[in-house]
Symmetry: C2
Subunit: 189 residues, 2 copies
DNA sequence: TGCAAGGTAAAGCGATCGTTCTACATGAGA
DNA sequence: TCTCATGTAGAACGATCGCTTTACCTTGCA
């Protein structure tokens, strides 16, 4: 049952880091959150840094699954807008202190393992927008896809960050406004 | 010379937190960055938390001054776009690890003093966009001003966050694209 | 039956943390 | 000339940190 134990631990670690940040919880608190002994915790994640990476990887899978739920099938602006609509309750329920990846990098700017985990997640988020755009606009050029994808990614990061400092509702509405005006300018409805 | 000493210390603290994050530098490292003795440091900032708040307040003044440099006088989209153009070199030169305020809050989610300092700065940044909009579009309504100001604030936060994970150039171009398409949709040129 | 794998609880390691304190230097005003 | 505010350098405090280790318990299978 090694795999399931490791997943259960990662789930607890993710919850602890999301709730308390990366600085506050000591390894003892992480052990409590994971619901295992210290020895077992260190068997699966041999350092605190590894615990952070494990939590981030679990978080990434969890977020992608969250976004996929209810994702529209067809072409059009639907899939892109769906992402921003799903992001709002995600922030409210799962990320009261902001993006876990941004926060992890802020706390560990010198850790390569953590930097790589963050870059991996952000690259996949950008790829997700590229996929949505290609579905929305099947004959989109590479250049347009990159340009619009980058812009949508910036909106995504902005909604995430602004939620913490100015509230879920305002940030969510603003992000949707931006995405819609951007797509409308490209004649995607 | 109390005031100038305190400012000089804050400048050093800001630089240290920006370069190393909020977790890594111990008080000894902060003392070195401030260029004073431990006793003097604690006289002006009686706790590490106070040092963080002092650094954030100094950062805020520094950022506003940075944005004002070269700010266009007249009406139109100029002032708004100027902010995003100035943000790009600011990130490159002064914030290699992301927004100092977001990072501070990430590291100290339970500190009221730090949370207040962050909210203060974010509220003034939103107010700055409202000012720019009123200059761009003198007869703008309160509702439009709030809506567009929120959207611009989201772009601002997004450019800041995306710079760290996908690079200054891409984030800067994307933010300008967003701001322009938003303003163009409102017939502000 | 026996033993290896993987679990629990908890004591203890050295290092480092934020903070305070001692001892002394300097420069301006009474 | 004396004093006080403000500066310096650095030792030392107790607490807490990440991590290791010891000792013991449970389970599944040869």
């Amino acid at each position: 049952m090694t795999i399931r134990t490791s997943d259960k631990i990662a789930e607890g670690l993710e919850a602890a880091f999301a709730a308390e940040g990366f600085a506050a919880p000591g390894v003892d608190a992480l052990r409590d959150a994971a619901g295992v002994s210290l020895r077992t915790l260190y068997r699966h994640y041999p350092s605190r840094e590894a615990m952070v990476v494990g939590a981030l990887d679990h978080r990434h899978r969890s977020y992608l699954a969250w976004l996929q739920r209810g994702m529209p099938e067809g072409p059009g602006a639907g899939p892109v807008l769906h992402v921003f609509r799903r992001l709002r309750p995600w922030m409210a329920e799962r990320a009261p202190n902001g993006c876990l990846f941004v926060n992890a990098l802020a706390e560990h700017p010198d850790s390569n393992a953590i930097r790589e985990a963050v870059k991996r997640q952000k690259a996949e988020t950008r790829a997700l927008f590229a996929d949505c755009l290609r579905r929305a606009w099947p004959d989109i050029g590479d250049e347009d896809c990159r340009r619009l994808g980058d812009a949508l990614f910036v909106v995504h990061e902005g909604q995430t960050a602004a939620t913490v400092t100015c509230g879920c509702a305002e940030a969510g509405v603003a992000a949707l406004t931006l995405a819609e005006s951007l797509l409308r300018a490209e004649n995607i409805e």
